[in-house]
C-alpha cells in the first residue's frame, strides 16, 4: 500500500539551479535564485552584472543554472536586459522572460541610472535585486543599501555607517512602473508567488529580495533563514507590493511587531552598537513602519 505523504511541497520540485555552485555556506542569494527560477521556469534569460552571482554560477566553462546567462558589466543589468528583450523579440522570441539579476551595489549604486532609464521607458523586463546590504563579492564594503549602524570594511566600528539605507523601493515607485514587491528568502512561498505574479505582468517589474550573507554580516550560516524571518517580523524589512507606483499592499501583517535588538544581536556587524544606538534605530524602524501602514491603508 502506498504511504500517504504527511508533508506537502509548497514549491514546485523542479530545480533549474544545481549543486556544485560557488556560494558560501548559508548564502541567501543562492536561495533567492533557486526560488525565483522555480517560478520563472525554463523560458528565462538572465542578465547578471558583477555581483556574488557572477562567481556563484561557476567559472567558465561551467554554469550551475539551466537558463542562459549574459554576464554583463557592473552598471548595465537593466540596460543589457532591455537590449536582450528587444533582440529576442526581433528574432521572433516574444515569450522568454528577460530578468536582470543584480546585487544591491549593482542596483542601488552603480546600476541605478540604467535601472531608472529602463523603468522610465517601462521596458518589458523583470529586475530582481538580491540585497545582502553591502559589496560582499569584493569583501564587505558599504553600499547605499547598507543599514544604519552596520560595520563594513569601509565603515569601521569607530565610524560605522551613519546614514540610513537608501529606499530603493520608493525610488522605483516614483517611476510608476506596474509592479514592485519586497520579498525575503525566509518566506519562500511569498518569493515564489511574487516572482510568478511579476512574470505575468508586462512592463518593468522590480523585485527586492532580502538575502542574508553570513560572511559579510558575521552571522552563523545556520541563522540565515532565521534572520530572513526576523527582519520581516520586526519590520526592518516589511514585505509589501506596490502596483503602478501607488497602491501599496502589505504581504505579511504583523499582529505583534518584534523588537529589533534580538535580530541585531545575531550579527557581528552590529556588535559595537550601544543601547542608545539601538534605541535610535528602533525609533526609526517604528516611524517608517507607521508610514508604510498609512500607505497601505486599512
Amino acid at each position: 500500500m502506498k504511504k500517504e505523504k504527511t508533508m506537502k511541497l509548497t514549491l514546485p520540485e523542479e530545480e533549474l539551479m544545481h549543486s556544485g555552485n560557488l556560494a558560501c555556506q548559508g548564502c541567501g542569494a543562492t536561495l533567492a535564485m533557486r526560488y525565483a527560477l522555480k517560478a520563472l521556469g525554463q523560458k528565462t534569460a538572465l542578465c547578471i552584472p558583477a555581483c556574488c552571482w557572477s562567481v556563484i554560477d561557476g567559472p567558465f566553462p561551467y554554469s550551475t543554472l539551466d537558463v542562459p546567462i549574459f554576464h554583463c558589466a557592473f552598471e548595465t543589468a537593466a540596460s543589457s536586459a532591455s537590449g536582450v528583450k528587444a533582440g529576442l523579440e526581433m528574432v521572433g522570441d516574444t515569450e522568454t522572460t528577460v530578468v536582470a539579476w543584480g546585487g544591491d551595489g549593482g542596483t542601488f549604486d552603480i546600476g541605478i541610472q540604467a535601472l531608472s532609464g529602463a523603468a522610465e521607458r517601462d521596458d518589458d523586463i523583470l529586475y530582481i535585486c538580491y540585497d545582502n546590504e553591502a559589496y560582499m563579492n569584493t569583501g564587505i564594503q558599504r553600499s547605499s543599501a547598507t543599514p544604519y549602524g552596520a560595520w563594513t570594511t569601509t565603515t569601521p566600528v569607530k565610524h560605522f555607517k551613519n546614514r540610513p539605507k537608501k529606499d530603493i523601493d520608493a525610488i522605483m515607485a516614483a517611476h510608476r512602473i506596474p509592479y514592485i514587491a519586497t520579498a525575503s528568502i525566509g518566506y519562500p512561498e511569498d518569493v515564489f508567488k511574487k516572482v510568478k505574479k511579476a512574470k505575468e505582468i508586462k512592463g518593468t517589474r522590480f523585485l527586492h529580495i532580502y538575502a542574508p550573507c553570513p560572511t559579510g554580516w558575521k552571522s552563523r550560516p545556520e541563522d540565515s533563514i532565521k534572520l530572513a524571518r526576523m527582519v520581516v517580523q520586526n519590520a526592518i524589512f516589511p514585505l509589501y507590493e506596490i502596483v503602478n507606483g501607488e497602491t501599496y499592499t502589505l504581504s505579511i501583517k504583523l499582529s505583534q511587531k518584534k523588537p529589533i535588538a534580538d535580530y541585531l544581536r545575531l550579527q557581528g556587524r552590529f556588535r559595537h552598537l550601544k543601547e542608545s544606538d539601538i534605541q535610535f534605530m528602533q525609533d526609526e524602524v517604528d516611524r517608517r513602519w507607521q508610514s508604510l501602514l498609512k500607505k497601505c491603508g486599512p
Binding site: 525554463q42 523560458k43 528565462t44 534569460a45 542578465c47 557572477s54 562567481v55 554560477d57 561557476g58 567559472p59 567558465f60 566553462p61 554554469s63 543554472l65 539551466d66 537558463v67 542562459p68 546567462i69 549574459f70 554576464h71 554583463c72 558589466a73 552598471e75 548595465t76 537593466a78 540596460s79 543589457s80 536586459a81 532591455s82 537590449g83 536582450v84 528583450k85 528587444a86 533582440g87 529576442l88 523579440e89 526581433m90 528574432v91 522570441d93 522568454t96 541610472q113 540604467a114 531608472s116 532609464g117 522610465e120 521607458r121 521596458d123
Partner: protein, 384 residues
Amino acid sequence: MKKVIMGNHSLSFGAKLARAQVIAAYPITPQTQVVELLSEMCADGSLKAKFIKVESEHSAMAACLGASLAGARTYTATSSQGLTLMHELLHWASGGRLPVVMGNINRSMAPGWSIWADQNDSLSQRDTGWIQFYCSSNQEVLDTVIQAFRVSEQALIPSMVILDAFALSHTYEVVDIPEQSQVDEYLPPFKPPLRLTPEEPHAFGGLTSPDHYFELRYKLQKEMEKVPDLIEKTGREFEKMFGRYLGLVEDYRCDDAELVLVTSGTAGYTARVAVDDLRAEGIKAGNLRMKVFRPFPFSKVREILKGAKKIAVVDRNISYGCHGIFFQEVKSALYGQGNACPLFGFIAGLGGRDITPSTFKEIARYALSKDKPEAEIVWIGVKL
C-alpha cells in the same frame, strides 16, 4: 537613387539598408541627425527595428550588446564624450565577439568644450578590439556601414564607421543610395553561431580563469589578422554590385611620388587638391589615405610607401608625450622594411581648426626643404 544628403544621414540610410533590427542610442552633438532620422524611419515603419531611447551612451552600448547576443543585427551612433563613456563596453563588445556596428562622429574631447573635429575620441579606443573605418565622403560613409555589417558578422568583431564632425557630418553631398534588394543580396541576415536563448542555455562572459582567458584573446587577434583580407574581398564584391570599391587604403598619385602625404578622414580628400596643385608646380606629390586603421593595413601601407623619398604623416590627433597616432603606426609599419626615407610627423587641425589645401602645401614645402624633421612633432598653424 541619387540624393543630396548630409553625412549623418548617410549613417542612417546605411543602417536602414542593412536592416538593423535593434538600435539603442543617445543624442550628442554632432551625431543627433543620425538618430533623429532613424527614429522617424522606425516610427513610420520603413525600418522594422526596435529603437531603445536610452538614458546614456553607456546604456546604449549595453543594450546593443544584449540585443546582439540575443541574435539581432544591432546599430548605434555616437561621438566624442559619448564614445569615451562607452569605453568599458567597447572592450565588452569585442571580447564577447558581438558584431555591433557603430557610427562615430570624430569630435574633440573636452575640456574646453569643443564640438568640432579631431580624432582623439576614436583613436583613444584603438586598443578596444574594434575595426575602425575612417571615411572621407558621404557616399563612403553609407557604403561602409553596409560593408561593416558584412565584415563584422563574419569575423564576429564590432566595427566603428568614423567621420569628421561638421566637415562631413553636416556637409551635404550627392549620394547614390543603393536598392534594398541589392543590399539584401550583398548582406545576408545575421545568423550567429551561438546566441542567448533558453533553447540552448549557455553562460556568456562568466568568470574565466588564467587557464582560458589567454586563448580567448589569442583567438580574437587571429581573427583580427584575417580582417584586412576580408575587407578587400567584401570590398571587391561591393564594387561588382554597386560599382564602388571599398578597400583598406586609397592611393592617389603615389606611384612615382617623391613626397607622400599620409592622411585620414576628410583631410584625405583635401590632400588630393594639394597633390594636384603641387604636381602642377612640378613637385611629385602623392596621397595615401588611411581608410582602415584597425586592423592596421601593414602590407598595403608598406607596398605604397616603399618607393617614397619622403613621407609626411598628417595627424588630426595626438598621443600626449609621444607623437601623432597615425605617425607612430606608419613609422612602426615601415621599420626594418628597407626604406629608410625621412618620415615627418605633422600635427594639424586639432579641435576643428581647418585643414585646407594650403595647410598641405605648407607641410609639403617643409618636408621638401629639410633633410629630416627638426623635431619629433612638427606643429602646423599653432598661434602663440
